[in-house]
């Protein structure tokens, strides 16, 4: 069932020669706007029950405007937003809290603002109090709260009633880590019960951990809609993108998408994984000594070069990453045409599974500054368990055990 259908939605802010002309329009007088500023255009997507979708994009890409139109506080200038069910938004937690009132009074007020009547709130107030876990402070004025306590109460109200669509903006980092786990648990539980999640975040981790799909907004339009890993790669590429650099997406043999971006001042020639016998491998054993070899070609004279890589699991979450800046192997004053071979040797202390390697060439220790080339999924390899005992997880951390 489609819970949310956004069809060809656009939003324009119109300005008129004078405000009087704007007002004349309310009285059905034909007045033309002098300027139309479109912040969003041609946005279409739909969400089904229990789906989780991530909304990513740089600041000013139009995420908040889109969310406001979905929640209904802003009216779209064109297109249609169709919502079947109740929307709850964890946009700005603690919105409308009055510091002079107690937590309990504020809960009644906030839940009322969400459209619940006193009877419904009476039925839920004990759960809200229990979930917030702030003890007797619940009946103290909110001005005496720490910001974390305020967040706890606000989150508890916002999610007290299971909505059909839950919008979560940035603020998954609610309170301390204990409460974060707790709120995360509640969100997951709602999702299982059929709530659709719409998550706005810059945090790759939470998008990939929660979402089954992601939408990338840039310059007011959807430029990518697909699996979160692929979308996040593309997003990172955009961030790293400098002037006159290109973003290129190649489809790999296995159907995955490889994203490449950068100015091209230096390029990645090859990325290969060798085993201890110096043979290129695709399958390695847990704990095996391997060597990641990256060949780099210098295309123009460069003052400085840093090579970095990240090993990611199949969900695209970072497992381990470093670069030659941290490894104290920065090369300077490179000539055009030079080819460098970097060899990173390490034991593959990884759990069983499929892994990918992303490689980046850049000027300083951060890939944002001057990005020569960034390549996601530059290499894929699998880790198999041949000699170690059975274990679970992403890492091979062999313990010794004693029992006294």
């Amino acid at each position: 069932m489609t819970l949310l259908a956004v069809t060809n939605v656009g939003k324009a802010y119109r300005s008129y020669r004078s405000e009087w002309q704007r007002m004349a329009r309310w009285f059905y007088m034909p007045v033309k706007a002098t300027e139309e500023h479109w912040v969003l255009k041609h946005i279409s997507f739909s969400l089904g029950a229990g789906e989780a979708i991530g909304l990513v994009g740089q600041n000013g890409a139009g995420k908040s405007t889109l969310l406001k139109m979905i929640t209904g506080t802003l009216q779209p200038s064109e297109g249609k937003v169709q919502v079947n069910g109740r929307i709850a938004a964890i946009l700005e937690l603690g919105m409308g809290f009055n510091p002079e009132l107690t937590g309990r009074q504020n809960v009644y007020h906030a839940a009322g603002l969400m459209g619940f009547n006193v009877n419904e709130i009476n039925g839920a107030i004990d759960d809200i109090e229990a979930f917030a876990e702030i003890g007797e402070y619940f009946d103290h004025a909110v001005r005496t709260y720490s910001s974390g306590m305020q967040m706890r109460v606000a989150f508890s109200v916002a999610t007290a009633f299971r909505p059909e669509i839950l919008i979560i903006d940035e603020a998954l980092s609610v309170g301390d880590s204990y409460f974060q786990h707790k709120s995360f648990g509640r969100i997951k539980e709602y999702q299982k019960a059929g709530t659709t999640l719409l998550i706005v975040s810059h945090d790759r981790g939470s998008i990939q951990a929660l979402c089954s799909r992601a939408i990338l907004l840039d310059g007011g339009t959807i430029i990518k809609d697909g699996p979160p890993e692929e979308v996040m790669d593309y997003y990172n590429a955009i961030i790293a993108q400098k002037e006159n650099s290109v973003v290129e997406v190649n489809t790999l043999a296995d159907g995955g998408r490889q994203t490449k971006s950068g100015s091209g001042k230096a390029s990645i020639e090859s990325v290969t994984l060798y085993n201890a016998e110096n043979a290129p491998v695709e399958y390695i054993a847990v704990g095996e000594d391997v060597c990641l070899t990256i060949k780099v070609k210098i295309n123009v004279e460069l003052p400085e070069l840093v090579v970095g890589y990240v090993i990611k699991d199949r969900l695209g979450q970072d497992v381990f990453g470093t670069n030659t800046h941290h490894l104290k192997c920065v090369r300077t004053d490179l000539q055009q045409g030079e080819v460098l071979t970097y060899q990173f040797r390490f034991p593959a202390m990884l759990g069983v599974g499929s892994y990918s390697v992303a490689v980046a060439l850049h000027a300083t220790d951060s890939h944002i500054a001057d990005n020569y080339e960034w390549r996601d999924l530059a290499l894929l390899f699998n880790v198999v368990n041949m000699s170690k005992g059975s274990f679970v997880g992403l890492a091979w951390i062999p313990p010794t055990v004693e029992c006294k």
Binding site: E19, R22, M23, K68, Q75, Y108
Partner: protein
């Protein structure tokens, strides 16, 4: 229209708690609490009475109480306070609650209703204080006072009409918010509240007659001070003006509410 009414009904709990919370929050941590709401207008009355009663005291015909001027002032201020509070707060309510309107979806008509509710609550408390003071000054309550109920509603309608029109426009043209306090001051002095109508020179009478607050304040004087029924013909005209303004206000509000959030 029905959508608006249903929205109000669905959010009745929110409206009631908002009015209550506003009241509680305003006086939290003050020793006298809600009393301040009564002290302020009464202090105003006391100041005018002290300064002006000697000048005007003898000129109030048709009443033989030595505190006549004080009674007259209190009656007028009871009416004016309600009007000024609703207009003043409707004027800024959308701007003040702009953040909320941008972030939460709720029927926005609830905002002016909350303003009216809390102004009515304040006025009711002030009225209770007025009754006590009148009794203390030897002016017993009478049956004519029931006219205050329809009169109060007339003031509310007029104030909401003015306030809603200006409040919506103020979102787009902020000068209105700056100029209105001045206009309200002038309006106050052009309404016979601190003076009696018979000291007004003839050439100004016409101006005063076109002031819709004049018949209302006069009716308050009739009912509270002179113990006679109000002049229905005059009040009827005011009711018509008020309803007209209210319709205009609601129309503007409906047409503008989508754009309002864009401009906030």
């Amino acid at each position: 229209m029905f959508g608006m009414l249903r929205g109000i009904w669905d959010y009745r709990g929110f409206i009631v708690t908002s009015i209550k919370n506003e009241f509680v929050a305003r006086f939290a941590r003050s020793k006298l609490g809600g009393l301040w709401m009564i002290i302020h207008p009464l202090a105003q009355v006391a100041i005018y009475a002290l300064i002006l009663s000697n000048v005007l005291g003898a000129r109030l015909p048709g009443i033989d109480n030595k505190y006549a001027y004080a009674l007259y002032l209190i009656a007028g201020i009871l009416a004016w306070n309600l009007f000024a509070e609703i207009v003043g707060r409707c004027l800024t309510v959308f701007i003040e609650q702009g953040n909320l309107m941008k972030k939460m979806r709720f029927p926005r008509i609830a905002l002016p209703i909350i303003v009216v509710g809390s102004a009515l609550l304040n006025n009711l408390l002030l009225f209770a204080a007025v009754l006590i003071i009148f009794a203390a000054l030897g002016h017993a309550p009478n049956m004519q006072m029931f006219w205050l109920i329809p009169l109060t509603f007339t003031i509310v309608a007029l104030a909401v009409g003015v306030g809603l029109v200006l409040g919506v426009l103020n979102v787009f043209i902020r000068d209105i918010g700056q100029v209105m306090p001045i206009v309200l001051q002038v309006w106050f002095w052009f309404t016979p509240i601190v003076y009696s109508i018979n000291i007004v020179p003839d050439y100004l009478r016409g101006t005063l007659d076109s002031n819709p607050m004049y018949p209302i304040v006069a009716a308050y004087h009739n009912v509270l001070v002179y113990k006679v029924p109000p002049d229905f013909a005059q009040i009827g005209v005011v009711v018509l003006i008020a309803l007209g303004l209210m319709l205009l206000g609601l129309f503007l509000f409906r047409r503008a509410s989508a754009e309002m959030v864009d401009s906030l």
